[in-house]
Symmetry: C2
Subunit: 435 residues, 2 copies
């Protein structure tokens, strides 16, 4: 047994500073769990003189500008990668494995893109690779899925895994403000970046869903497998109709697995107010898991932030430290059990919400209704309202369950009707409305 | 490495049948994770001819009336105890450890009462002891606390850990029915037993909180340390006032730890509608954890039921199987870090809800208000309503934070006032009301 667990940090930004702070502050708890101290021996920085978000308390000799000081130091057992980015981080992590070091990372972009390669490199070198912090920050969801559901068949994962978009949608819903105003508020409060594209366009959520999907279904999910729609086209009117109909709008990562084929996408969707995800507000994250045996389970908490992310990283480092002491590192990797097969649109089922802009004339609703009947799609809820433009109306419907392929056909036929001026919105609607 | 993991079952009731069913059904997944099959070799039953809830598919040779067939079989690696009760289960588990067998149990009563003894026996014999299923059924909360929060200081745990009482309170709230009617409904639907005492009086919740408290705070909590109030005295009127004030009534297990002293109790309490626990409805369970670094986290799911409980048990058995293969069984036990010290009532702080039955005469409110002022307790919310009895009124207040000791003094002084006919109700109120 080593006399200590020696850590090398790659990156000392907000999360890295948090890691250093927590390791120092909770040293007694770490010693109690591991039976030895945890020490940050070297930390790679870009600029050693930069003022950091948190005083790391680190002596000058810890910080280094040279990655080799971390990667080539034979005394360093565990490399914690919190520098972000793809290529450099990937190279460093592969070097760490080649040198027999274990790796803990918070880098969802990297794990989503190169997870398979990293896992295989870790296994080849008998090393551990953990990345709890990469999905939903402080929520121990990856452990929950891999260990807690070890004996269950996970049928469905639904995640609110992006805090920025959840904050924006919550503001729109609660304060009745437009998407642009809510985004500006989020930026002011630091919940959205100056360039919010990766968040609002759904890419960040897609990366997390790729990781969740792989662990939940034991198959490699590529980012390209995920259909992604962001919230940047969202209109307040749809949030208001959703509310009237008993739903809340959320950006949801959906992943389903029937034991053979996978369906995985990220999209704004209506969630019934009866569904546990509907109550997840502001910047909070939550992951809802449906297991064949366990039924419904949900994990809720902070999805980001220096301290929650740092705590998740250190919990991974503790797991590595325990594995080191027991001599069982490199044993957590399990080759995926299933070859990935994706569902076609006629194997994907859902209820759908549609908002149509129509001419306000006799018989319009029956023509629309006929179009749905032809596809054997039936309605669950219907609303008709005068539009703010003269001689037109808005029709909002929520359908019963139908395949996506058939819904898409119905949409095409609707657009061919003279009386339908536009299909304004089209969203998935999950759960039974609370009316 | 063993060619298989061989399991012996103690008890084949609803949960035991679920365990046998799941092991058979998910054999491929188990093999994938463990690299070997899992087999139920012997199962202790009281009556081999009893019709079981689930067809276990077990051949006649598996069932036995003799515990020795499980405990003395050298080929059995893991004993799963789902027989319930205290003394016999305890004896069998201690025998299993003495024979070098690992134990997985769902027995909260036993673990709450004899957890220390069982852990020590396991450690002495290099054996594993896991009991994920003992708290909140299908929710992997014990793993979440021990592994997910490994590097964090857990300050607070609040649990809705009894499905029966949550079902009853949800019915009262949603349908406006009395406690007795809601209990009768719960009994009809199988959510409450014919003798509901252990559930409605809070003892079941207290047992689970003793287990959660130990793991969260790394100190042994005895059942006697827990102040317990059940929901059997609950009046619908208080649920209605709570609703008006922005709260929901829940049976909550509270546990707090300031790094030195513990506060732990089970009581019906008002929870702000803004709090994630307020949305946990019907028979569902949820455990809310506040960590210094992670902040808020909540774990939600089914608290009971044959399949969720069985899935939790098998996830523990998988952990044991992995430990066996790695040769690291018996290493998860960590001696508690803290000697238990309990907070006195002047170290326990909360907001409180009071309902008073008073004479409807001039100056009554100012006399009541003076009584609180003397103790430096201030009000957050006040309601006054005519009572259904002539010349009397009801006054409902929610206080700002105060110590329990001071609140108890104020209550005594209130009862001395001529104008106060009765202090009808007194509950803790958690969080800021959504008004």
């Amino acid at each position: 047994m080593d006399a200590k667990v020696s850590v090398g940090l790659l990156g000392v930004g907000v999360v890295g500073s948090g890691v250093m702070t927590l390791i120092e502050k909770h040293q007694k708890k770490l010693m109690h769990q591991l039976g030895c101290p945890v020490e940050v021996k070297k930390a790679l920085v870009r600029d050693p003189n930069k003022k950091r978000a948190i005083d790391t308390g680190a002596s000058e000799t810890v910080l280094t500008l040279d990655a080799a000081d971390v990667l080539d130091d034979p005394e360093i057992d565990v490399v914690i990668e919190v520098m972000g980015g793809i290529e450099e981080a990937r190279r460093h992590i592969l070097s760490a494995f080649a040198a027999g070091k274990h790796v803990v990372t918070a880098n969802k972009d990297l794990v989503a893109l190169h997870g398979a390669e990293l896992h295989e490199a870790a296994a080849q070198n008998n090393c551990d690779l953990y990345y709890e912090a990469s999905v939903a920050g402080g929520i121990p969801i990856l452990r929950g899925i891999t260990d807690g559901f070890a004996s269950d068949h996970i049928e469905q994962v639904m995640g609110i895994v992006n805090g920025t978009t959840n904050f924006i949608l919550t503001k729109m819903h609660q304060e009745g403000v437009s998407y642009d105003d809510a985004l500006a508020q989020a930026q002011e409060l630091g919940f959205a970046e100056a360039d919010p594209a990766a968040d609002v366009e759904g890419l960040d959520a897609a990366r997390k869903m790729a990781i969740l999907g792989r662990l939940a279904f034991s198959t490699y999910i590529d980012l390209d497998d995920i259909d992604v729609t962001g919230i940047n086209g969202i209109e307040l009117a749809d949030l208001k109709y959703a509310d009237t109909l008993g739903f809340t709008m959320k950006l949801i990562g959906f992943a389903k697995f029937d034991g053979k084929r996978v369906e995985i996408n990220v999209q704004p969707a209506l969630i019934s107010r009866n569904h546990p995800l509907a109550d997840v507000k502001n910047e909070y994250n939550a992951v809802y898991v449906y297991g064949e045996a366990v039924g419904e389970a949900m994990f809720y908490g902070a999805g980001a932030g220096s301290m929650p992310t740092a705590a998740a990283i250190i919990s991974d480092a503790v797991t590595v430290g325990k594995n080191m002491h027991r001599g069982v590192t490199g044993s957590q990797f399990i080759e995926p059990r299933f070859k990935k097969e994706l569902k076609s649109t006629d194997e994907q089922f859902g209820q759908y919400y549609l908002r149509l802009h129509v001419r306000d004339e006799a018989g319009v609703f029956s023509r629309i209704s006929d179009t749905f009947n032809e596809q054997a799609i039936s309605f669950k809820q219907i609303l008709q309202r005068p539009s703010d433009q003269p001689e037109t109306a808005e029709i909002v419907v929520v359908t019963h369950e139908a395949s996506l392929a058939i819904m898409q056909q119905a949409l095409e036929h609707l657009q061919d009707l003279d009386t339908v001026l536009a299909v304004v919105s089209f969203y998935k609607a999950e759960g039974d409305a609370d009316t």
